[in-house]
């Protein structure tokens, strides 16, 4: 057998090519790229559904879709955006950047990494195929409350198994990140020297491991309720429909922070770079993130103030919810203090990061209002809530993800993106997103419930305004795709340190980052990690 020579020969720049490179990839950079491309695709799939929703709501009266289909759009839009766009984008960034930021050659478990990505396309094939089934897709809202969700037709088992697969994928991703950070760090890097993006992802990973199994349990119980005659959630059989809501939100509230914490990490990396000043209060940032994560397990019932909880419960969850404002406030103040007396420039990543801080804080304000139980009795399940969570998720999480893409694109592609177009993309996104979501606060306060396909004429003007903002925001995102593709294909060569104020290990490797990096652990020089 003369093949031994082939195996022992180890070429650092050896890359598999063609389809095999992507299907069988165990390289953290390739898998990161796959995740990011997948997330962007899903962002447009979910976005197309949002366009259907906004088109139907453009005017009062029913013009385009049947109410049942409308409900399924609302449901699948949420599932696709949460599990298909924001989470995979976060995991993609983690894959690409964590090994580079901590000086590791790859993720700890590269084959599992491959699997956790390749589950996703199958899970979404299951979920999206339901739209074409008899009886339509799941239409009971992404929260899947029984008994309504049990009225779903053929789509029901597909929904449940899709959620299971997504959960398995997320848990494997989380395990991988924790193992990488704990075992693969450059020997000279202590935990409290890690960049904040790494910290937020470690904490997020623990949230995933603790909360996703709870969701898996809840949807399994739905499955047995529908097909195996159990009655966990059926009052007629001695069960309790509210029990599902408790379980769901025990998962659901940490899930909110699973989406938001990585965004905090991204912004904590970007603001010091463009302020040319170290992150203010690194240690308090880490502690604030950890306390937000812990508190997130004790506030779930603020999603269900109107189900009729005992008054002691309502008071407890109100206090716990309001308490979260404190560590969140600390983070916002730290970002401001980082900018204070810096030497700031406003390239696109910084614009998106500052946009994030302001708009996320507005979402935080409405969050504080929603946390106060007596007034929540008015806000609950109205467009005020819709406005709130789109401020924290779209102008929050998604803005941070966009910032991250612009920030690290030079490292990924070796080219600078078109700065002028990037700035146009930022300003258009910010203006249109606000036209889209700000009027929804007024709609909610004026009394428009969420998840309705048609409405009274008193809501017509603000809905039209919101829809116009929505269409414009949707079109603007095509510009983003153009900018990314243009950058991948060519452009001004990026330096290893692509931004003047950038510090950290990821900037010590050339741009584009070679296929294999840090095969010998890097030495950490003084000041290299001071941006935090």
């Amino acid at each position: 057998m003369g093949t031994i020579a082939k195996d022992t020969h180890h070429d650092h720049e050896h890359k598999p090519t063609g389809l095999k490179r992507w299907f069988f990839s165990t390289n953290h950079k390739d898998i990161g790229t796959l995740y990011l491309i997948f997330a962007l695709t899903m962002f447009f799939v979910g976005g197309a559904m949002a366009m259907v929703i906004r088109a139907e709501l453009f005017q009062p009266g029913l013009q385009f879709v049947d109410p049942q289909f409308y409900n399924s759009m609302v449901t699948i839009h949420a599932l696709v955006m949460i599990f298909g766009a924001v989470m995979p984008a976060g995991v993609g960034l983690a894959n690409w950047m964590i090994p580079l930021m901590i000086g590791a050659p790859d993720m700890a478990l590269p084959r599992m990494n491959n699997m956790s990505f390749w589950i996703l396309p199958f899970a979404f094939a299951l979920l999206l195929s339901t739209i074409f089934m008899q009886g339509g897709g799941p239409a009971g809202g992404w929260t899947m409350y029984p008994p309504l969700v049990l009225q779903t037709g053929d789509a029901f088992p597909f929904l449940i198994f899709a959620v299971h697969l997504l959960g398995i994928s997320s848990i494997m991703g989380a395990i991988n990140i924790i193992a990488t950070v704990f075992n693969m760090r450059a020997p000279e890097m202590s935990l409290m020297q890690m960049p904040l993006f790494v910290w937020t992802w470690v904490i997020t990973s623990f949230l995933l491991i603790a909360s996703i199994p709870v969701l898996a349990g809840a949807v399994t119980m739905l499955l047995t309720d529908k097909y195996f005659a159990t009655s966990f959630f059926s009052a007629a059989g001695g069960g309790d429909p509210v029990l599902f809501q408790h379980i769901f939100w025990f998962f659901g509230h940490p899930e909110v922070y699973i989406l938001a914490l990585p965004a905090f990490g991204i912004v904590s990396s970007i603001i010091p770079t463009f302020s040319r000043k170290p992150l203010f209060g690194y240690a308090s940032m880490v502690y604030a993130t950890a306390s937000i994560a812990i508190l997130s397990f004790f506030v779930w019932a603020h999603h269900m103030f109107t189900v009729g909880l005992p008054i002691k419960g309502e008071l407890f969850f109100m206090y716990a919810t309001m308490l979260i404002a404190v560590p969140t406030g600390v983070k916002v103040f730290n970002w401001m203090a980082t900018m204070w007396k810096g030497s700031m420039t406003f390239e696109t990543p910084m614009l998106f990061a500052v946009g994030f801080v302001i708009l996320f804080t507005i979402g935080g304000f409405s969050g504080l209002m929603l946390g106060i139980t007596p007034v929540d009795f008015q806000y609950h399940d109205t467009y005020f809530v819709v406005a709130h969570f789109h401020y924290v998720l779209l102008t929050g999480a998604v803005f941070a993800l966009m910032a991250a893409v612009y920030y690290w694109l030079p490292k990924w592609t070796g080219h600078m993106y078109d700065e002028r177009l990037g700035k146009i993309h930022f300003w258009l996104s910010t203006i249109t997103a606000n036209i889209l979501f700000f009027p929804q606060h007024f709609l909610g306060l004026a009394g428009m419930p969420r998840r309705i396909p048609d409405y009274n004429i008193q809501f017509a003007d603000f809905n039209m305004m919101s829809s116009i903002g929505g269409f414009a925001y949707g079109v603007t995102q095509l510009l983003f795709v153009y900018i990314v593709i243009k950058c991948a294909l060519g452009g001004k060569k990026a330096k290893a340190v692509s931004w003047e104020g950038a510090k950290g290990l990821e900037w010590t490797v050339p741009s584009p980052a070679p296929f294999h990096t840090f095969e010998t652990p890097p030495k950490i020089k003084k000041g290299m990690l001071e941006n935090g």
Partner: protein, 379 residues
């Protein structure tokens, strides 16, 4: 519609002024003592966050304008300061406590349903509301008004703009007296709904198998409108809630009327219907109760709601009884109509379904047969 585009243009230019003038921007203060307290608390919190926002964003923008490289700013080196960090932990905590105190008091007052004069149970059903006046033994059903129903069909070609209370009007409003403590129980028959009138200051979920209790004292006579606020299926946007608050005398007169009507309905059981009467009455009932799912042409929605035109149940004579059972007791997604419709109405709608859309069975069902069917079934 002509002016909508102009309005948006003006709105973008002069948003605060026009918006305040033309549209509802804020929460309603409502018409009960509690709703007014809620409104006040809402305004307090809104002002608190607005002031915090102005301060925080003000400092941030000041920094953005002055500490930029193009202005020659040199980056400072500091990266922590225990004093300010303690300060910006303590100040928000203090603000939050000062908001939690009034909120706690209000919540405790809202929780006290004792000493209510009138108790009404609201039951959410896909997709209408049933109100039981527990002290009077009256039951009314309240569903979307016919006009909205017609306009709301997909591509109906009718404009909602002509209907001021489009989707916020019902055939039978909930009638209550003013200045009386009302106890409102919410529950549901099939899936979770939620009962909300913004003017009363709260919404509460209506959950099958559970009863939530709430209260309100309405201080101003008037008609107050709201919607179901928990997604409950296809008709979620089409189950409004209307409360008519009237003086005690008017309320009592209304109660007497309802009691008389209830007696009349009992007597109608013995009536014998002609085909024409049945078809006319049946069409009326069908439009109100069945059309949402089975559609105006009886074709249903494939995969979700079965069609009736040419269906085995509605055309084969051996299935007449099964047809009645389905209406009276429901099946799967089909709600039970036995409690809601009188024998006469069920007979008429059954006759209608068996003869409309080319079903033409010639079957004529009488109220007596319905009364029999109610007895037979052991479900």
């Amino acid at each position: 519609m002509k002016s909508a585009y102009q309005k948006i243009l003006v709105l973008l230019l002069l948003m605060p002024v026009t918006a305040l003038a033309e549209w509802g921007l804020n929460m309603t203060p409502g018409v009960t003592p509690i709703s007014k307290e809620i409104y006040d608390l809402h305004m307090i919190v809104l002002w608190v966050v607005t002031v915090i926002g102005i301060l925080v964003f003000g400092v941030m923008f000041w920094s953005i304008f002055h500490h930029r490289k193009s202005k020659g700013a040199k980056a400072a080196k500091f990266s922590h300061s225990t004093t300010v960090e303690i300060l910006w932990t303590i100040i928000p905590t203090a603000i939050i406590i000062s908001l939690a105190v009034p909120a706690t008091g209000l919540l405790i007052r809202m929780d006290d349903t004792s000493e209510a004069k009138i108790t009404i149970k609201a039951t959410g059903i896909q997709w209408k509301w049933k109100y039981d006046y527990l002290d009077e033994g009256i039951t009314i059903y309240s569903s979307l008004d016919a006009n909205s129903q017609e306009v709301a069909q997909l591509n109906s070609g009718l404009s909602p703009m002509d209907h001021e209370n489009y989707l916020l009007d019902v055939d039978e409003p909930l009638v209550v007296p003013v200045n009386t403590k009302l106890r409102l129980l919410t529950t549901a028959e099939d899936v979770i709904h939620a009962w909300w009138i913004p003017e009363l200051g709260w919404k509460r979920d209506a959950i099958p198998g559970f009863i939530n209790d709430n209260w309100a004292v309405i201080e101003e006579p008037g008609t107050y409108r709201g919607n179901c606020t928990e997604i409950c299926g296809k008709g979620h946007g089409y189950m409004p809630i209307v409360v008519k608050a009237v003086s005690m005398e008017e309320y009592e007169a209304w109660v007497d009327d309802k009691k008389a009507l209830k007696l009349a309905a009992l007597e109608s059981q013995n009536k014998t219907l002609t085909m024409d009467e049945s078809m006319a009455e049946g069409e009326k009932v069908y439009k109100k109760q069945c059309l949402m799912c089975h559609q105006a042409n009886g074709q249903g929605v494939p995969g979700a709601f079965p069609g009736l035109a040419g269906s085995v149940i509605a055309t084969k004579s051996e299935n007449t009884l099964e047809h009645l059972y389905r209406i009276i007791y429901g099946k799967n997604l089909m709600p039970k109509f036995g409690d809601q419709l009188s024998d006469l109405e069920i007979a008429a709608v059954t006759t209608y379904e068996r003869n409309a859309w080319g079903n033409d069975t010639g079957d004529l069902i009488q109220p007596k047969e319905v009364a029999e069917a109610r007895k037979n079934q052991t479900k």
